[in-house]
Amino acid sequence: MSVTTTAPDKTSLEKRDPDGAPRRAGGLKALLTHPLGRKLVPLTALAAVLIPIAAVLWGSGAWPSELSHDVKAPLDSVNQWIIDNRDTHPLFLYFLLYFSNAATDSVDAVYNLLDSLGWIGVTATAVLFAWRAGGLGRAGLKVAGITLGAFAVCGLLGMWDPTMITLALMVVAVAVSAVLGALLGLAAGLSERFNRMLRPVLDTMQVMPAFSYLLPMVLIFGPGTPAALFSTVIYAVPPMTRLTALGLRGADPAVLEASSSLGASFWQRLLTARLPLARKQMLLGLNQTIMMALSMVVIASIVGAGGLGEEVFTALSTTDVGKALAAGLPIVLIAVWLDRTTAAAGERFGATAAAEATGARRLLHGWRAWALVTAGAVVAAVAGRLAGATLWPEAWVYEISTPVNKFQEWITNNLYQDVPVLGGTKVWADHITEWMINPLRDGLLDAPWWLLLLLVAVLALLVGTWGTALTAVLAMAAVGVLGVWPKTLDTLSQVLVGLALTLLLGFAIGILAARVGWVERWLRLVLDVLQTLPQFVYLIPVVALMGVGRVAAITAAVAYALPAVVRITTQGIKEVDPAALEAARSMGASGAQQLRQVQLPLARPALLVAVNQGVVLVLAVVVVGGLVGGGALGYDVVFGLARGELGVGLVAGAAIVCLGLVLDRVTQPTAATRKES
């Protein structure tokens, strides 16, 4: 499709170009009738009027101070007011307090339950349920093995208690998110109007970096478990909602019609046809919700919820890589455990189950199996208690931080610099800072503010509609109004460098994987693991390799965004219509020709999605990189949280959201342009 639209574009351009100065009337007319021209010509006219006025009024440097508005002071006073009134004001006493108490109580209750189960009980429960969820065959055994390994390593690393705190938070957060998401998804799946209302909200939530959810919650609830829990819930709800709605809407219309034709009532149809048909999508949603919740729970540890994230956070703040790794590994293992278990359960539902089991094996199906598993878990827990084992035995803890720190020292001494020929990680980092980030940042800072706004407008208009452009420009301007223009541009420069590296690597690897079978097979194993990891853990290895700084943050961002970009690229290229590819091959196109002339043009929609995903993911981690010396907006958030200066943090958080909106809008092909291409 895209081939057919670009072809006339080219010819019309060529026709105009050779004339040098084209005949005015014809040229303008052609320009106006061309779809891009129709958008860009009015914009040019608008800019020609507005920009001189703006430049005369407010100059052409960085964002003019006349247009900034101080929001820090009012925010700080709001914060102060909340702190002063938290224990007395009815809004808190009769409303928010209930929420925060419920949050604290339920997390405590789950933690106490886990604690009383003891490490044997918890491990046995997790293993048995994982086995049940994975099914009877080899899949179930594999999942059970992964679970056993994950919990054992958590204990061995001496992280049992933080793991349980994180797990308790997770259990409550996932339960709330899943129920909330399923209900919202149900509403959106059944009501077209609600769906239309909800979709833009979900779209926006999806591009907001995890960091930006923390501050408002801290503002309302203060640091602690409730803030962590609620920000996690909000962060994790969208996938469940989206996929539930998608599953309900995507149900085979023939089935629904058949159900109606037999006289099913609304509820009968919902319960017997719509929900069962959406089951697979809903499980996928649950899986994503769990992974998002884990990602957020770890980050939310910063606001005082405790758990594994806090261990990583404190270790990173003193650049103690060994301790950070000891806390980071359990996070990775829990992520793998949760992902494998829910994925295995999802696959089992998706597979058209073979003939139902009979006889003895029936015991292992349906509710009987759940009862059996529960009974087994209870027995293990009781046995563990009787043996007096609640906490992981001290003797079984293996201290890895010392050897890791020794290794880290070796890296510092041997890989940072003076590596023959290659240079060294620190050297690369310095070069990237010197040659890429700094010039870009300085360029952005030197550019007149109106030029950046215009650039944003043009880019947004190219990929979207006037509405897109307006949103993007307003979001960009909001950054200036908030008074964090330079810091935002600093963050932006990091994001752009990160994005460039991500796309360069991602497209290269993606194309390679799409063309070479074994690369894809191996890559898939790696990507599966990488994609489940919370953003936080990416910071640990980069700090080990390059120390703190902007490049560390960018590298973590690239590593975090790369799997998604590679995957989308590979998929897009592989899903190119085989008939088109075969036709090209039949005409004797070489491999490179096939790629350039057929695969890449036809995969363009997927590549655009990859760019969009890349930019959103890079931004998310670049701001988290504030923890490891990324500076700019991310640092303000961390600073605001750590010092209780919420005004600073909230402004930075708002700027991050705005930047996220800008970046998303200028890279997100809207439905309209998608139809065109």
Binding site: V255, S260, L262, G263, T272
Partner: protein
């Protein structure tokens, strides 16, 4: 544009009065218009416009326009037309899966359009069951539970509905596959499940919406045989939608031929093939092997002299193709005998005239 009836066909309501049986479905002036302000179209000045003109002027599409017919008890009523002719919309209007825009519609004399939600649900649960082109089976349920689905919706208990479903499964020849999932069955088997599901609720009338279009030709033939067998055994009323003329001719007691939402011709297969109402129908039936549809009653001529007493004989309902075989064996003209009385003669000339599609009446005997 109401049904253009072939002159010879007795008007259906009269026939029903004659038989003393009320029609199962009685449809009068039914409209279904999609688009903005659809309810204004029927009966307005635009009603007579062609499909394209109507869309250009009002933005509406008339999927069913002013359709009238009766479905008699025990008959197989086929609605036939090309895609887009409105036949699938029409059959959905019968149980208001699609809400008709205007007209009258009754089942056993009871007004369907006036039914409230409960009565309508009752109609769908007990009186009319439908078989769909794309099966519409529940992928997460076994064949047995799919067949029992209609009973489940009626609120029949698990043991009883499974027992009843098992009987129907046997009837459609799916014994042994009860525990499979629909995804593990072939297309033909899946449609048997769809058929069994419809039969399980023991409906008064079965509605088929192009049930076999998605199947391979050989399996399609099998399934057609199955429907013919079921009809012979149970005598259930059927409304059958198809775009396949040979299927329509094979199955239909009467055929309504649709085009652009209206019925172009309504009659028996023989009437449609022998005397097409207009050029469109004529074009449609051009390639039909006429000798397999037209009966000797249509082809015969009065007996001359002693022809009435001598020679091979056939019944008047026999097709020309069968009569040709008899004539070839006997070597002479064949007598058409009804109730022991010779009512006419088909000779070689007559039979060949049918095959050739020329008017044989002018040829002297």
């Amino acid at each position: 544009m109401s049904a253009t009836l072939v002159p010879e066909t007795p008007e259906t309501p009269e026939k029903s009065e004659n038989n003393g049986k009320a029609p199962v479905f009685s449809v009068r002036g039914l409209w279904k218009v999609f688009g903005p302000k659809a309810d204004r179209i029927p009966g307005s000045a635009e009603a007579g416009l062609s499909a394209e003109e109507l869309r250009a002027r009002t933005g509406c599409t008339a999927a069913v326009r002013d359709v009238s017919f009766d479905v008699q008890p025990g008959e197989v009523f086929v609605v036939m037309g090309l895609s887009g002719s409105g036949k699938s919309t029409l059959v959905r209007c019968l149980t208001r899966l699609i809400e008709p825009t205007a007209g009258e519609l009754s089942i056993d004399g009871e007004d369907v359009l006036g039914m409230d939600r409960n009565r309508l649900r009752d109609l769908r649960r007990h009186r009319a069951a439908m078989v769909f082109q794309h099966f519409g089976l529940l992928p997460h349920r076994s064949v047995l539970d799919n067949v029992a689905y209609g009973l489940e919706i009626q609120g029949v208990g698990k043991a009883e509905r499974r027992a009843r479903a098992a009987k129907v499964i046997e009837k459609v020849g799916l014994t042994g596959l009860e525990r499979r999932r629909p995804g593990q069955l072939s297309g033909g088997q899946q449609q048997r499940v769809g058929l069994a599901r419809a039969l399980a609720v023991d409906p008064e009338v079965l509605l088929f919406d192009e049930p076999f279009s998605a199947l391979d030709p050989l399996i399609r033939r099998d399934m057609q045989e199955e429907v013919i067998r079921l009809h012979r055994e149970e005598g259930r009323t059927m409304v059958f939608i198809t775009h396949d003329l040979s299927e329509a001719l094979r199955l239909g007691d009467r055929i309504a031929l649709m085009r652009d939402g209206g019925i172009v011709q309504l009659g028996t297969p023989e009437e449609i093939v022998d005397s097409p109402a207009d050029d469109y129908v004529r074009d449609f039936v051009r390639d039909v092997p006429r000798e397999q549809v037209i009966t000797v009653r249509k082809a015969m001529r009065p007996a001359n002299g002693d022809e009435a007493t001598d020679g091979a004989s056939v019944a008047p309902g026999v097709t020309v193709a069968e009569a040709i075989e008899v004539a070839a064996r006997s070597g002479g003209p064949v007598r058409v005998v009804e109730n022991g009385r010779c009512i006419g003669i088909v000779d070689h000339q007559r039979l060949l005239a049918v095959v050739a599609g020329v008017e044989a009446g002018v040829v002297p005997a």
